[in-house]
């Protein structure tokens, strides 16, 4: 096998981190930031793509401030963005529980949870604005869980030792998104936001090196249109559906981010993909998505597989009921391996342990890819009613999907792709390497390093949208003459033509395989080879095979229907094509990162006890990939990470 030598560039854009002690950076930034007169703000047009927590909150806030906002989403309403599916909660350093929380502690936990691969200054800012987020949401009428005294309640979550998570039952994401959606609708009603639902961004328009517009497809009429603005805010979420099966919504895709990457925005740390340990296992080939069961279940559920392969085999074949397996024949492997954290070990560790058990042929579920999450002991200890009070809706949901009552038989779970820490590279202003292109929320490479802690995604999305971008956007906009670029610029026509040509090309293949089939094939390959445990061999194999699948797409895809009007096959095909262009850089990044950290686990790099072995001397950097053509090796730019405020330590949860 030949080694791949990645072209490395010495150039790295300035990350624009303010000077001074970490506690003062953001204050100093805001004090010194450029401002735009309220009367002048309406002259600036801001294009916001995506209406999840990041995009929606940014659109609402910027519209309130007086900017002229145009907002786009592929769903039929901004309220449907996939932030809505977040269950658990949102972190904030309010210290309402008086258990010693502080901005610093939230900052530290997040950096450590991310296995020291995040930018300190960004994470500190995130922790600083976390309290403002909660205040804002409460004022909007988000019904957070409360105590009888009328004050806000908190939960504890994985990776922290205190209670700082605010929640709305199991639907925190929904309630936060509705708050944000209502703020948007308020501005839509006032005419400050021009909303374009059922509109998908297909390309970015770069004029004189600056992002000045987007090309979109109207998903109802099929029309390809352009919009010009003074800046573009990309908040299009993650790329988890590169694995085909994931907890993401069916429409989640990398198309917009990939288009920006191709236009010059660096893609940072794409190999950091989070695999969530508690999802309902795959049932069959027809399956379209995986359903997450909240991490909170691990508070009272015990995870196990049979000790012997024979028993596992019997369960797989349905010859034996899980509840009939004797206590002695069960391997509570998380409790065995991580006695102090037990079933509450962080997500990456729990996921890998499940995979190991199944690789050892002790997995359950008909496919062999599943482990048990058992509530037998908790029910015996606390009673059925108490359990239902805690997890009733989750138990119902599980029974609805699987027709198995988790009171009687243990749940079956297996890890699934859930969140992507990697994304487009941004500086402290949330601006990418293309001036004028700002990236928010999960779409940027963000504040989570190599692993995201539970309840931190909602925090980051809202932080970027409500608070950060509102202060950092003028830094760019003040350098621009408002309205200087219109869709009359030749770059718009060029981009539209390129998009139309690509669409026509895929429509005209007229092959035999549907976009879904090809997506499934890609997903299976990436999941098997670049999923939870990666080796040089597996990565090389994926890198060799991906171009083949891409060629298969461009020579044998069958896109039904026409370019006019609504065409869901064309939408799928466009998204699959983007995943095919993007999948290699995910593998390249995983191959380049010769260490294990957080969610990125290279089997070659582990401790004697199987724990991740980080290499801070060589890999304490953000790997930023510059696109050089499909099928070509991307160029690696490195942003070195320095840790002045936290001590680099081995992340141990034993």
């Amino acid at each position: 096998m030949n080694d791949i030598k990645f072209p490395v560039s010495d150039y790295m854009p300035d990350s624009c981190i303010p000077d001074g002690p970490i506690e003062q950076k953001w204050t100093k930034y805001k004090r010194e930031a450029k401002l735009i007169n309220p009367n002048n703000r309406r002259k600036y047009t801001v294009l916001v793509v995506g209406t999840g927590l990041a995009g929606g909150s940014a659109a609402a806030t910027l519209a309130e401030q007086g900017y002229n906002v145009k907002c786009f989403c592929y769903q039929d309403s901004p309220r449907r963005a996939h932030s809505i599916a977040a269950q658990g909660g949102i972190n904030a350093a309010h210290n309402y529980q008086n258990d010693g929380d502080s901005v610093y502690r939230l900052f530290y936990d997040t950096v450590k949870g991310g296995d020291f691969r995040a930018r300190e200054a960004n994470v500190y800012r995130l922790a600083e604005v976390s309290c403002d987020i909660i205040n804002q949401c409460v004022a909007q009428g988000v019904p957070f869980g409360r105590e009888y005294g009328g004050l806000l309640d908190n939960r504890s979550f994985g990776g922290s030792q205190l209670k700082r998570t605010f929640y709305s039952r199991g639907q925190t994401g929904q309630q936060l998104l509705l708050g944000c959606y209502q703020a948007m609708e308020k501005e839509i009603g006032k005419g400050h936001i021009e909303m374009h639902p059922r509109t998908e961004m297909l390309d970015l328009v770069v004029v004189d090196g600056h992002a000045k517009g987007i090309v979109v497809r109207d998903m109802v009429t099929g029309e390809i249109k352009s919009y010009a603005g003074d800046t573009v805010l990309l908040a299009t979420g993650g790329y988890g559906r590169v694995f085909f099966l994931s907890t993401n919504a069916m429409g989640c895709n990398v198309g917009a981010a990939c288009a920006c990457w191709k236009k010059g925005a660096y893609f940072a740390n794409p190999c950091f993909t989070q695999i969530h340990p508690t999802c309902i296992p795959v049932k069959g080939d027809y399956q379209s998505k995986l359903t997450l069961m909240s991490e909170s279940l691990r508070n009272d559920g015990r995870i196990w597989v049979p000790k012997s392969r024979e028993v596992a085999e019997k369960i797989r074949k349905g010859e034996m009921k899980p509840s009939d397996v004797a206590e002695n024949d069960r391997d509570y492997y998380l409790e065995r391996k991580y006695p102090s954290f037990g079933n509450l070990a962080p997500r990456d560790i729990s996921s890998r342990a499940a995979k190991e058990a199944c690789d050892d042929e002790r997995g359950v579920a008909a496919t062999g890819r599943g482990v048990f999450l058992d509530f037998k002991d908790a029910i015996a200890r606390m009673g059925k009613e108490w359990i239902d009070g805690q997890y009733g809706n989750l138990f119902e949901m599980y029974e609805e999907i699987t027709a198995v009552d988790p009171h009687e038989q243990p749940m079956m779970i297996y890890p699934a792709s859930h969140y992507t820490m990697g994304g487009l590279w941004v500086d402290y202003n949330l601006m990418s390497s293309i001036p004028g292109l700002h990236v928010l929320g999960e779409a940027n490479f963000s504040d989570h390093g190599a692993n995201r802690l539970g309840a931190s995604a909602l925090m980051q999305g809202l932080s970027d949208g409500y608070f950060v971008i509102a202060s950092t956007l003028p830094t760019y906009l003040t350098t621009q003459k408002p309205g200087s670029v219109t869709t009359a610029a030749p770059e718009f026509k060029e981009a539209e033509d390129a998009v139309k040509e690509r669409i026509n090309k895929m429509m005209n293949v007229k092959g035999t395989r549907t976009p879904d089939e090809i997506h499934r094939e890609l997903g299976k390959l990436v999941w098997d080879k670049v999923g939870m445990g990666r080796t040089k061999e597996s990565l090389m194999e994926a890198i060799e095979k991906i171009p083949g699948i891409r060629d298969e797409f461009w020579s044998n895809v069958k896109v039904a229907g026409s370019t006019e009007g609504m065409n869901m096959e064309l939408e799928k095909a466009w998204r699959v094509a983007a995943f095919l262009d993007f999948a290699e850089v995910l593998c390249y990044d995983a191959l380049n990162r010769e260490e294990s950290c957080g969610a990125h686990f290279r089997l070659e790099h582990q401790m004697a006890d199987g724990e991740a072995k980080r290499d801070d001397a060589n890999f304490a950097y953000v790997a930023c990939w510059e696109y050089k053509g499909t099928g070509e090796l991307p160029v690696l730019h490195k942003e070195n990470l320095t840790f002045d405020n936290v001590h680099l330590a081995i992340r141990s949860y034993k």
Binding site: Y96, N135, G141, Q175, P197, Y286, E400, F467
Partner: protein, 255 residues
């Protein structure tokens, strides 16, 4: 587990202007544990291979929370099993069944294609007053205003609405009262939403009427079809709040 063979009666319509019709398709070898939308995926894959355009339907999260999936199944939105269509599983059907699949009914939900309808009217109701008018950054400390737990829980129950529009589609009159009242109740119950209560109620009801929805006749089909169990108590509350708001507007009582 057994696989099912079904006959599907599906509403097909190329676009808003075209004439719609029912087409019959066979759904063969459908696994019982597949969801209803996965069943449609399988059927569509077959249709595409045969050179027929796939059946268009709305869907996204497929875990029952985004509210994008619609479908009237056997005459009832979401199939009437207290879950969204995406959470409806094929084990609810028997081998040999005939299943009717049609769009959500309502003049205010114009059809776009096949089973896809435009529910923007619901967004317009929210835009008219379904919010608390606070600017980002101006909020006081979250614990400055205690809220009784009971009130917070009641507000949450109303706020659990996913905006799918099943209430409208199930209503014999295509009334949007359950949707509108749930949002109004969520915000009116909380102290944060109180300053705008009357204004909100008047604006939302008037917008609802302007969108061409019908009038509630207290049949409670909406509650029965709602996948999130939103209660018609909200409708009673909206009626009450509307009287109060009108009195306030006319003569200034209850202001």
């Amino acid at each position: 587990m057994a696989n099912l063979n079904l006959t599907l009666k599906v509403w097909r319509q190329e676009n808003a202007q075209a004439q719609g019709r029912i087409e019959t398709y066979k759904a063969t070898n459908i696994p019982e544990e597949a969801s209803f939308l996965e069943m449609l995926d399988i059927v569509n894959e077959g249709l595409v291979k045969e050179g027929i355009e796939p059946i268009h339907f709305d869907h996204d999260c497929r875990e029952g929370i985004c509210g994008m999936c619609s479908l009237t199944i056997n005459g009832v939105p979401h199939g009437g099993k207290h879950v969204t269509t995406c959470q409806l599983h094929m084990r609810q059907f028997k081998d040999g069944d005939t299943v009717w699949i049609e769009p959500f009914r309502a003049r205010a939900f114009p059809l776009l294609r096949d089973l896809v309808v435009d529910r923007t009217a619901l967004d317009n109701i929210i835009a008219s007053g379904g919010f608390v008018d606070v600017r980002t950054g101006s909020a006081p400390n979250a614990n400055n205003m205690p809220v009784r737990k009971k009130t917070a829980d009641a507000a949450f129950d109303a706020a659990a609405c996913i905006g799918c529009g099943a209430c409208v589609a199930s209503c014999k009159n295509s009334s949007a009262m359950l949707f509108t009242s749930a949002k109004a109740a969520h915000l009116n119950l909380l102290p944060q939403g109180h300053p705008e209560k009357n204004k909100r109620v008047l604006a939302m009801v008037r917008q609802m009427d302007a969108m061409g929805f019908g009038n509630c006749t207290n049949q409670y089909e909406c509650e029965a079809a709602c996948p999130k169990g939103i209660s018609v108590d909200n409708i009673a509350k909206l009626n009450r709040d509307y009287m109060i708001a009108c009195a306030s507007e006319a003569v200034g009582v209850f202001a």
